[in-house]
Each structure stands twice: as structure tokens, then as C-alpha cells.
Symmetry: C2
Subunit: 334 residues, 2 copies
Amino acid sequence: MSVLARQVVMDRRPEGAPVAADCRIEEVALGEPSEGELLVRNLWLSLDPYMRLFMTTQDGLHESVPVGAPMPGGAVGEVIASNAESLPVGTLVVSMGHGWRDHYIAPAEAVQPISPDAGPIQRFLGLYGLTGVTAWGGINGVLKPKPGETLYVNGAAGAVGSLVVQLAKHAGATVIASAGSETKGHWLTETLGADHFINYKSQDVRERLAEVAPDGIELFFDNVGGDQFEIAIDAMKPKGRAALCGAIALYDGDNYRAGPRNLFAIIEKHVSVTGFNAGFYYEMAPQIIAEYAELEATGKLIYEETVIDGLEAMPQGFVDMLSGANTGKMLVRL
Amino acid sequence: MSVLARQVVMDRRPEGAPVAADCRIEEVALGEPSEGELLVRNLWLSLDPYMRLFMTTQDGLHESVPVGAPMPGGAVGEVIASNAESLPVGTLVVSMGHGWRDHYIAPAEAVQPISPDAGPIQRFLGLYGLTGVTAWGGINGVLKPKPGETLYVNGAAGAVGSLVVQLAKHAGATVIASAGSETKGHWLTETLGADHFINYKSQDVRERLAEVAPDGIELFFDNVGGDQFEIAIDAMKPKGRAALCGAIALYDGDNYRAGPRNLFAIIEKHVSVTGFNAGFYYEMAPQIIAEYAELEATGKLIYEETVIDGLEAMPQGFVDMLSGANTGKMLVRL
């Protein structure tokens, strides 16, 4: 069996915010899987903010994707040809490095089999995957909210943010959530249970934080970075804790790694800033998945997906996700 | 009783690094202390890096000293006239806001009586005061070194740094200490017990850290900030902890509050950066003082002072302290 695979490659490096035309779709002929390899047909692809970092050549932490190379990312697919006994044809698998394409060949060790019994299979890209583990790690590994504490999360209607809101509420925290539309605000407060909403596009975040938390905030979960991080530092109470998860506001600029211009303020307030990523919590994934499954089964967790269809729509979907078009987890269905 | 007091005032704002001529000495006639007030003759004055921040008008955290106003800071003095029953003539007191002068009048509540039995009275500006509480808070409140962990401290021959080296050694850590001369390096390793020395003026700190801690560092105590903070972030192991105490390298620049340009790296390594200052640990001062007294009495703590004489020498002494001329605590004896 051999197939003609389609893949999304980066056609040129974005200058500033990416546009769909920075990518193109190309076809490549795949051969037969060699000994120990699989041919996988992807069913679901993930779109996540961190993927923006693959497009930069800034001296930094992430591997830079060469111009003309396919974009990596998480995917769920089905084994359609196998030369590995452990993963026969029909096995559903999740992969991290073989993202933006419809078929790929990989060694069996490069993918993880998943069970369709756990729920819709695309969950392994979101609630049961990178997204869910990230939110869980930030709340239960880093911030550890206590009842009565106030937590502020930005990007709150996104994949990670919308889980953070709910996990923090379950922990007994008062939750301030910011996002970019009134529709999202309504969803965050009425459906997810956030206590306060800040529309960062139409309101002054600094003023609104002072209104809804006049004594300051104990906890901050940062998905955005840049001046939004700075505003939160200024709003933090003494002994406050911040979890630094991402900095989407900086990814299009000259230095996505830059610290806030007022970091020294943490000296005055005995504030802790802890960076983290899902990698530190993957070993707990079975426990995390079980917790999410239980929360959802008992109606205590709302999990939203924004789905687009087809590889052709993926470049524009990526651009839209980066500018906040999605609510909850952004996915591509093939 | 009335006296002609001398005080050091900021005569002009420094541009870049301060010079002695940015200050001048003036005489002011003090009247009689009013009801509840004291007249104090200072015996010892403190010189500390944070005082540089009083000289800036940058939008920041510290009160800016107006041009022509006296410089504040810690001082130990003797009550020579009293209109407050609680603090009779002869009482020794420590003050924080009445620093760079030989006499002052203040309400009794603005000073703290000290006991001459605890050791040399200038200890209350150093080991038993701001310096000692800062080092103790950074080690025992923030970093909590565990045996076998590696701690890197810069500005290690300074007042706080030289205590940090010893407290970290007592906790069982391997200590890497940086300072600006071979003489200081010899003192840090041979007398204070640091395991490794980095001469930041003559060596490449990044290379030396990689040499002496090829697997990275768990703990970082930062007195310097700027690119030295950035180098340490890059050298930190996963789950490392940094204590941010000061940023003397930034105080002469455009933004002393700026975070490191590679802060995003803490996301990849699950690193925590905690700011702190002595204020959060003053309530534990009696315990801290007792611990230091015990350590010193049993020969387990070396406490060094660099002393200059006279108010006239203070402006140049301040400049020298900022550029690292001192070993241990910098003091002015009147």
C-alpha cells in the first residue's frame, strides 16, 4: 500500500502576525512502511498557540521549522498499514511531531495508541492531551489555589484558559477571566462559572482589575504575556503566585522570550513567577484523564471545541486561532 | 539643647553611575525635640545598594529623593535629648529613614531601641538588621536549599552575598560564588567555604558556570540582575528556583525594573523566580538574630565589615560600594 499524502508546509517565514499565505499545501508520495513502521491516516489535527514559535528563527528554545518543511503538531489518526506487531491496522494513535498532514509514516515508538472507549478520540488532542495536562499542571502543580483566593486568567476562553477557569472554581477560588468578546464573556461567566469578566479589547484591563479585585489578586495564570503580564504583576498581592504558561502576545515580535518590564516589582511583594509546561505533568496523564472524565460525567466540566474541516482550511484556521477566533479547543477534522 | 547638624543631600541627580559630586554636605540647625520626640546623635551609618534607587525618578517602586533633600538610610545612634519617657537619654536606637546625617530629631515611634549586649552596635545595620534578615529570608524563606543542591550567588563578597554563601553551606548545598577580584575569591573559598569562585570581571561567567556545574544549578540567589540574571536562567536545571533580591547592574540604566530578556525559558524548565525583601521577614528578627549569634559564637559564621570614617567620606564610599570596593557590610563610622 502506498498513498499520495498532503501536508501543510511553511512557504515563507511570517513577518509579524502570520497570514494563511505563509503556508501552502503540497503532495508527497509515501512508500511502504519499513520494518517496525506504520502508515497512519490522520483524522484530527490540533491547532495551538505554541506552533507560532516553530515559525521563528529567533535565538530561542523551540526548533525552527525550515522554510519549505511541514509544520509539526499533535494529531490523532488510524493505522492503515503496519509493519509493527504492537500496533496493528485499525489502531488509533496520537502523535506529536507529525501534525499538519493527512498521512504519515513513522516508527511505532513515535506514536501512542489511544482507546476509543475514553470518549471522542479528538479528546486526546485537548482535554486528555496537551491542553488538559497544561491546565491541570498550572492549577494543581504550580498555583494550587486555596478557597477564597482570587485567580486572574487571561486568554480565558481558549483551550487551556477555559479549563483553568473551571479547575480554579472547583478549588474554591474567585475567578476573574479575560477574553476578547462579550459572547465569550457571557460563556465564561454564565456557563463556566467565572465570577468576573474583563473584555481586554473594549475595556482597560488595569482599571477593571482594580474594580473587581480592589485588594489585588493572589494568583495569575498567564497565557498572553507582554503588557498583560505587567498589568497582572502590578495587581498582585504580597506573596502572590503567577504561573507562566505562554506569551502569545509576544510571539510575533522581536523577542518572544522577553520578561516583563516591571519584574523588579516582585521584590517588593514577595511574588513568585513559575514557568511550566505540560511535559512536566505527562507522567500523571492517567490520573489527570480520570479526573477530567469524572468531572465531565458528573456535569462539573464543560469542554468546548471549535472545529474546522479539511487540511485546506488549516492555515487560515491557525491565523484565526492566534487572533482568538476560537472558543475552547481548536481542531481540524480531516 | 540644640545642635548644628550636618547631613548629606543629593545635590543633583546622577546620570548613569553616581559620582561623589552628586552629593554635598550641608549644615542645618536643629531645635529642641517636641513632646514625644528625641534628638539622636548617629554613631554608625549604613551604605547599601538599594539607596541608589532613591536617586532615580524612574516610574518605579521607590520614593524618589528630591534634589536638595537628604539621603535616607539605616543608622545607629544614641539619644542625647529626649522628650519621650520610653526612650531616655543614653538609649541606643536604630532608624531607617534618617540615614545620611550626624544628628536628627524624630518621634520616639520612628526608632527602635537596641541592646549593646547583643554585640557591636553596628551589627544592627548588618548581621542583625537589613543585611542579615535579607540573607536569611532569601535562604530560609525562599530558596530552602537541600543537601546536595548547587546554589549560585553573585555579588557574593558583599554584605548579603557573604552571608548567603555561609547559610547555603550550612544547609548542605554546593556553593558557586562570583565576585570581582581574586582577593575576594580567595576569601570566599578559603575563609567562607564556597566550593567554586567565578571572577566576573576576568572570566566568562557562562563558561565558568558550565565548567563548575556541568549539569546546571538548582538554586540562584541574584543580587546583580541584568545579563547576569539571564546567564543564570540559562544555567538552571528543570524545577530550579531563583531568589531575586536586587539588580544593582540595572540601577544606573533606563529601567531598573526590567525582567530578563529570556524569561520565557522558565516555561521550558519549570523554574520559579521569587522576589523578596527583608520586610517580609522582620517579624522573625529575634529568631534570626539568635541564630546568627549562635553561629558566630560557635565559629560557624564569618562576618566582615568594611568601615569608612566620617560623613565627608560617605558620598565617595557610596560610589565605591556600588562598584564593589567593599568586602562584607559597608559602614560609615561617625
